[in-house]
Symmetry: C2
């Protein structure tokens, strides 16, 4: 039953088609083991070529035996298994440990993609993960962009990431594993309060569920509707930017000052985001207060005034706003 729903979901959402080659990110925990078995269940019918990718973070004593556990399932199922082992703690660089682990894991996925020439990666994020992510963004402070959480289909560098379990509750996954008597590894770090996510999971979400038992569904629905709305705003800003750009080199964008000044607040902010994305690939490091500074520059300050952002230098001239990327 679950396998049929899974197949339907994959096809209807355009996540994969017959004969496609897919990378699967498999940690060994219940979610990814369910993902692996679900894909194995539809593999023959859809003629999928599956490659399991496992990243060993060396963060816990059980890490090696978990790697072996996933390897054994793949061997028995006759699918390729790629793994890499890295001591995440050695790469810890001031980001959170979770962020460091994530960066290394995604580098590994990109390497798997280059090695296998497969451009699509399936991850096991489920509805509870999505709700937690949205909540974490709210707690940390996010705008609309952050509130989207993760998407059913997204891009990371040159690979496509699909998340077929994004609509499925964690409890449904666990129940299915139990029914099918499928074994998985229990990630002990989920029981510590080491990471904000775990504190949310163990304290905040239970309290929210007391207030409203549908909270997880509501948070996931919020992420989805925000994703739809943000996509519209992002596209409108991108189109607008094209109209008011006067000059564009690899490290500098010049925008018509009068046209920029005439924009409403939403488009003003998002055209700037779009310009920085054009130069830098993303808007990392750009905060709400930076947008306020640029607004003051455009609306109030004298020409030749400058705003110094972490990723760009913004200068006002007689007729233009010049955004120059930092190296």
């Amino acid at each position: 039953m679950m396998v049929d729903l899974f197949k339907k979901k994959i096809i209807e959402a355009g996540m994969a088609k017959k004969g496609e080659r897919l990378l699967l990110g498999i940690s060994g925990g219940p979610d990814s083991i369910a993902l692996l078995h679900l894909f194995l269940g539809i593999r023959q019918e859809l003629k999928l070529d599956l490659v399991a990718c496992h990243f060993n973070h060396c963060l816990r004593d059980e890490a090696d035996s978990e790697e072996q556990f996933v390897k054994n399932i793949c061997k028995a199922a006759g699918i390729r298994f790629i793994s890499e082992k890295k001591e995440v703690k050695k790469f810890f660089d001031g980001d959170s440990l979770e962020q460091t682990a994530r960066n290394l894991r995604y580098d590994f996925f990109l390497k798997c993609s280059r090695e296998t020439k497969i451009k699509k990666l399936a991850l096991a994020h489920h509805e509870d993960d999505l709700a937690e992510t949205v909540l974490m963004r709210i707690v940390r402070g996010a705008g609309l962009r952050g509130l989207r959480g993760f998407l059913p289909i997204s891009r990371y560098k040159n690979i496509t990431i699909i998340r077929p379990l994004i609509d499925t509750r964690k409890s449904v996954i666990l129940q299915w594993l139990e029914e099918k008597e499928l074994k998985y590894c229990v990630d002990q770090s989920n029981f510590s309060e080491e990471f904000l996510r775990n504190r949310l999971r163990l304290k905040l979400i239970p309290l929210l569920e007391e207030l409203n038992p549908s909270i997880v569904d509501n948070l996931a629905a919020l992420a989805q509707t925000v994703a739809i709305d943000y996509e519209f705003i992002e596209k409108a800003a991108h189109d607008l930017l094209q109209k008011i750009v006067r000059r564009h080199t690899h490290n500098c964008v010049e925008v018509d000052l009068k046209a920029l000044d005439a924009l409403d607040e939403c488009m003003f902010n998002n055209v700037l985001r779009s310009a920085i994305t054009m130069l830098k690939g993303d808007t990392r490091g750009l905060e709400a207060r930076h947008l306020v500074e640029v607004k003051a520059l455009v609306k109030e300050r004298k020409r030749e005034s400058i705003v110094d952002l972490p990723m760009a230098i913004v200068t006002k001239t007689d007729t233009r706003l010049t955004i120059e990327a930092r190296r």
Copy 2:
């Protein structure tokens, strides 16, 4: 100091101008008493004509003495005081008691506006209120529209509501009252867990503050950025609707089917919201699942098919989507 900032805020945000007449909603609690004294502090300089409005909900034993308390301050300050007393519990109609109280209170404000011919009402909502409202909407389940919380300046029927304390933390208000030795009533219901808002205030927000001490600022900032983004979407949808409307009577809107079908998901949803607002004045009762049903009608179902919504009947013809208001 606080009075100067207050005056600056009022002027810069365009909330009131010299010589204006204003209604003030004054419950007697610390927030509204601070609002009253702040307005009294700038009254002469800005030549404001102030009228205090107090609604007695009869929900607590102290209700009558609180009414008298506010009346006394107004008498001493020489401003007009209007009050009304209603047993909210008698009007309780299946909504929450809080919602019933709110409806009756706003009816009273409208009555005050008719009686005094003043079209502007100042309310004492502060930053902590805004954070709580956003959180409450998240808990109950909201889209972008709900996440806006309340706005610094908004419309309610034919009056303008201003909220000069929207950027001010509750703690700052309490500290100012203490410094100035100003007395206020303590709203006992804030210490009960009778309403969801109180449960949020007493349990959820303290837990969130453990996770991030800036959570209240972050929630208020989220409400503000969402308000800006939603305004853009709402306006874009309104403009689009004007282009694809083929016929419009007092109780029926007909929209070009092909044009509607060609819209992206964000505009599809918001053009429908806009059409229903055109007919009914608001979108009360419209849920996400209703939009999904109308989408299926437009994209998949046969002509002459119907979707039955609580506020409208939606019919698909060969070339149009007809939205007919229910009585």
